[in-house]
């Protein structure tokens, strides 16, 4: 009897739960903190799995860093300072109209345009470690998963979007907008996937995934668009003040 009822109303209840959870998530004091997977949420096997996924990307970025800093003495200070700036930007509160509270940009798209996706993963891994240690955003056990969503997904999607857009002949501002927008959304899609994989328990993975994705929509859709504007606007600012520095950046040729 119970089984029968469950089957019949499963769909309806799923939708209901989605709406209810979305409501809860957006009513929280800090919706953007959900951007990083909090310490302790991932069970040990998943935490290890995402570490294993993240590690090659970080190692690749570090290899790139070592190679380039051997040639260019200024390269490590340059990467560090851009990293510090992006970290700071990601801590700045921006008002999200639909959430009624402040949220934070991720800054990964911008970082990827400036220093390239490989080094963005390195910088993101450091930023995430600092946030996990000193701000209780994200966590040490979930660091691997957060590097994959923020660093890897965000940086490569953002950078890819920028390059493709420039290749298609779109103006750089549009390309930067797309980089910001898509890197933000990619981060959220990846975070949702990671959460759903770890949390669906005996329930359905796709139901959990669509639920989490939908729950993020009210804040993430507008936040992604804002992130796009910020990415384009910040790049415009840098271009007007320091055009020579843009040429030295990763996407310099395309910028």
């Amino acid at each position: 009897m119970i089984m029968h009822r469950r089957k019949k109303s499963a769909r309806i209840r799923r939708v209901a739960a989605v709406i209810a959870t979305a409501g809860i998530l957006t009513a929280l004091p800090a919706p953007a903190f959900a951007m990083h997977i909090s310490e302790g949420i991932l069970p040990a096997p998943w935490a290890l799995f995402w570490y294993a996924v993240a590690l090659p990307f970080v190692a690749w970025g570090l290899r790139d860093l070592r190679r380039r800093s051997e040639e260019l003495l200024w390269f490590k200070p340059f990467v560090s300072l851009v990293g510090a700036a992006v970290f700071l930007i990601s801590c700045m509160p921006i008002p999200v109209p639909t959430a009624g509270t402040c949220s934070h940009p991720a800054g990964t798209g911008l970082a990827a345009i400036l220093i390239g996706p490989g080094l963005t993963v390195v910088v993101a891994s450091i930023a995430l470690t600092l946030q996990a240690l000193f701000l209780a955003h994200g966590g040490l056990t979930t660091l691997g998963a957060n590097i994959v969503s923020m660093g890897v997904a965000g940086a490569y999607v953002g950078y890819g979007a920028y390059l493709v857009a420039r290749h298609l002949g779109l103006p750089w501002a549009v390309a930067a907008f797309l980089a910001g927008l898509l890197s933000d959304w990619a981060t959220y899609a990846m975070t949702s996937l990671e959460l759903a994989a770890a949390l669906h328990g005996d329930g359905s993975f796709s139901a959990m995934l669509s639920l989490i994705l939908l729950a993020f929509v009210p804040t993430q859709l507008p936040l992604g668009i804002l992130e796009g504007f910020i990415c384009a606007g910040a790049l415009k600012f840098v271009r007007s003040r320091k055009p020579e520095l843009i040429r030295a950046t990763a996407a310099g040729g395309a910028a």
């Binding site: 809860i24 040990a44 003495l73 209780a136 606007g233």
Partner: protein
């Protein structure tokens, strides 16, 4: 605006602050492992209680504790709700809201509470670590764990210059506010964008000057870190004692679960 990122308490002197950071980091990591592998809520909640009690005992302001725990606590709430209504099989109760029917299930509730307890336990471990250990001591400890030197070099420089850039960004944000830069949504977005752009420009200029200063003091592409002293006897004993304690607590839980 940026006062969240404060490390002033880590420079207070107390018994925990004096423990070697390598020992503290190893203990914290062991505690994290114990917490995230726990199958029942008792161990994580004990860890949470212990760490929170210590933090309160160290007289860390309640406001800071609240700020740090706010996000994890809200995540715990969501987790419990999510798991209760979406997973499990045995219904506990059901209710109808605006025509939709919700069924809470026992297994889901239990799983949700376990996840919540793990989050609280794990967050409190890291929080305690972070209020008794300054960042540079943690970086030192990480060297002992054989982390990539390049990674650490970038981390050290990033950490240092976050504070420098923070000052100029805070000034800029205040200047924007004083000139009504945030009065409408459009203006706010434009101001925010300029703030972000200016921060990037500052960082690029700072990078050049910092690199010059490093060169003038003999920098050849690798930040020289000093040698790490051997772990003291007292610290070794603390480390061994705590690791043994965590391991036995974890084993006890495992035994109780059988």
């Amino acid at each position: 605006m940026f006062d969240l990122f404060s490390d002033i308490f880590t420079y207070r002197d107390n018994a925990l602050a004096r423990i070697d950071p390598r020992a503290k980091l190893a203990i914290a990591l062991a505690a994290l492992v114990a917490v995230v592998t726990a199958e029942r809520i008792v161990l994580p909640l004990c860890v949470f209680g212990l760490c929170l009690g210590t933090v309160v005992g160290l007289r860390i302001p309640a406001k800071l504790i609240a700020v740090r725990l706010a996000a994890p606590l809200s995540i715990v709430a969501v987790l419990v709700v999510l798991q209760t209504f979406l997973t499990g099989a045995t219904p506990i109760f059901a209710f109808t809201l605006a025509g939709w029917e919700f069924t809470a299930k026992a297994e889901g509730l239990r799983q949700g509470m376990l996840l919540g307890a793990r989050v609280l336990g794990a967050v409190s471990v890291v929080f305690l670590l972070s209020v008794v250990t300054p960042a540079h001591r943690i970086f030192q400890a990480l060297r002992w764990f054989r982390l990539s030197r390049n990674w650490l070099e970038i981390a050290v420089l990033m950490y240092r210059y976050i504070f420098v850039l923070m000052e100029s960004a805070a000034d800029l944000a205040a200047a924007q506010k004083l000139r009504l830069g945030y009065t409408t949504k459009g203006r706010a977005l434009r101001s925010f964008t300029a703030l972000a752009g200016a921060t990037i420009v500052h960082s690029l200029e700072q990078a050049e000057r910092t690199h010059n200063a490093m060169r003038l003091r003999g920098y050849r592409g690798v930040m020289p870190f000093g040698p790490l002293p051997a772990l003291g006897r007292r610290d070794r004993m603390i480390l061994a004692f705590c690791l043994a304690g965590i391991a036995s607590a974890r084993l006890l839980e495992w035994g109780a679960g059988r």
